[in-house]
């Protein structure tokens, strides 16, 4: 270490501040309690404090900050969805993402790569064309391209996919990006903490105190807290929280797995997704290949991994990139995805007054972290849904007015 740096290490004037304040005890009441310190809960806390001046807020987390799906996801950020509601919402999120590193003064490794959704069948080409038109209508950079475009961006690809599933074209989305997942949670958490929000880790919400149809408090593993407003942002744990609240939702939980290779020389710039081969892949700044596949095929509330997953994902990966046969897989893991029947989230008010839901994020919610935080903060502060999320209400199922995103959300997260 250069000598001139040592004086900073030894001086108490230049100490490295801690990321988060540790609070020994909880208060007996807060204006707002947020369940879940994933990206979504922390972003909501941040915008409640920053944009609405509501700082008497506790974020309660049963494990540790970002330890849920936020820290398990494959970080694909894009806005080329299928429905007008989805396109507008995710585009607003991409716009927030771009400024976050500067806003937090923390490097999120936000990296715009370009995103290809590969089409191997005529019907897939049709869906891509449909998506491109909806996207363009809302000003989102999105186009249908031919196989030559893909080959140019990624010369290593076998366009015939071992002869099994030739690539006929792709939906190309230039703003597609990846980011450092934990850093997003830390950035929002730090920003909320600086503004007075309390984050309590190792604190599980075990019951909701509802009187006359209204939230009045929560029971936690560390005692009772009274509050008039509760936001549930617990992803794969949502059915347990709605069960505490006494109402039912369409959410069902299946595991979603992912894996990562040893770091290799940078060769893959864009993000590639193939619905037919059930794979998606990107390369991180450290050189690891981050890879994922489709949802596990049955309900399970566990984060176990399976060999089936690694085997079938690797086999499909080699169809597209035969030269990867010597590359080693170093880690695999899984998260509990809170799925909805129409592949759109469930956001907003609930049948219980003062209880708000930010859920149904399934396999696609990381990219939505900034905008869901912002719109949920608005919804909680004003007790009415933000205009961008009215298409995502729980009520849409009773009204038979679904927001069908399946064509844009399954496999390609």
């Amino acid at each position: 270490m250069p000598l001139r740096l040592i004086r900073y290490a030894l001086s108490s004037k230049h100490h490295e501040p801690r990321m988060f304040t540790t609070h020994d005890r909880m208060k007996s009441s807060y204006d707002v309690v947020i369940i879940g310190a994933g990206g979504h809960g922390l972003a909501a806390a941040y915008y409640l404090a920053r944009d609405h001046g509501i700082t008497n807020v506790a974020v309660l987390e049963r494990g540790y900050i970002g330890g849920g799906n936020t820290g398990r996801n494959t970080t694909i950020i894009r806005s080329n969805y299928l429905t007008p509601e989805g396109v507008k919402f995710y585009d607003a999120s991409v716009n927030l993402w771009k400024d976050l590193s500067a806003e937090f003064d923390l490097n999120l490794f936000y990296s715009t790569r370009g995103h290809y959704t590969l089409a191997h069948t005529d019907s897939a080409v049709r869906t891509m064309r449909w998506r491109a038109e909806v996207n363009k209508h809302y000003g989102v950079d999105s186009e249908l391209v031919g196989p030559d475009h893909v080959k140019k961006a990624c010369p290593q690809i076998d366009l015939s996919c071992a002869g099994h599933a030739p690539i006929l074209g792709a939906l190309y989305h230039a703003p597609g990006a990846i980011a450092r997942h934990d850093a997003v949670a830390w950035g929002y958490g730090k920003g909320a903490d600086m503004r007075g929000v309390e984050i309590h880790q190792q604190t599980e919400v075990q019951g909701l105190d509802i009187q006359g149809g209204k939230i009045v408090g929560v029971n936690t593993s560390r005692g009772y807290i009274s509050t008039g407003k509760v936001l549930s942002a617990v992803a794969g744990f949502t059915p347990r929280v709605t069960a505490m609240a006494g109402f039912r939702t369409p959410i069902f939980v299946h595991p979603l797995q992912a894996m990562v290779s040893e770091p290799i020389k940078p060769w893959l710039d864009p993000i590639l997704v193939s619905g037919s081969l059930h794979i998606y892949i990107s390369q991180t700044a450290r050189g690891e290949l981050v890879m994922g596949a489709s949802l596990d095929p049955y309900e399970l509330h566990s984060t176990r991994s399976t060999l089936d997953f690694t085997e079938s994902l690797s086999a499909h990966m080699l169809e597209m990139f035969p030269f990867l046969s010597h590359v080693k897989v170093v880690r695999q893991w899984s998260g509990m995805a809170d799925m909805t029947p129409d592949f759109a989230p469930i956001m907003g008010k609930t049948p219980v007054e003062g209880l708000y839901l930010d859920a149904g994020w399934g396999t696609w919610g990381f990219k939505a972290t900034p905008i869901s935080g912002k719109t949920m903060a608005h919804t909680v502060a004003k007790d009415e849904p933000h205009p961008l999320i009215t298409g995502f209400s729980l009520q849409r199922f009773a009204d038979f007015a679904l927001t069908g995103e399946k064509g844009a959300a399954s496999v390609g997260h």
């Binding site: 939702t249 369409p250 959410i251 069902f252 309900e299 399970l300 176990r304 399976t306 809170d338 199922f397």
Partner: protein
């Protein structure tokens, strides 16, 4: 994994002629999403036999299997 295919929880369809709208939407969309021992439809694909499994959805333990109408 593909030898046995999951087809969802066993649910009782309400009589669509007599039930209320909210009973019907509850049946169509809502699910018991919490971890529990559940009765589920599974299919053994090689023999195409459909059966019911009682499975703990937190631990992934199958407790009982039987043909429809044979269990309790």
């Amino acid at each position: 994994m593909s030898e046995f295919v999951y087809h969802g929880e066993v649910r009782n369809e309400p009589d669509s002629e007599t039930c209320s709208d909210s009973e019907w939407t509850d049946y169509v969309f809502n699910r018991s999403g919490i971890p529990a021992v559940k009765k589920e439809w599974w299919c053994h694909t090689p023999s195409n036999i459909w059966f019911i499994a009682e499975r703990d959805t937190a631990k992934d333990h199958v407790l009982r299997t039987y043909l429809y109408g044979e269990g309790s």
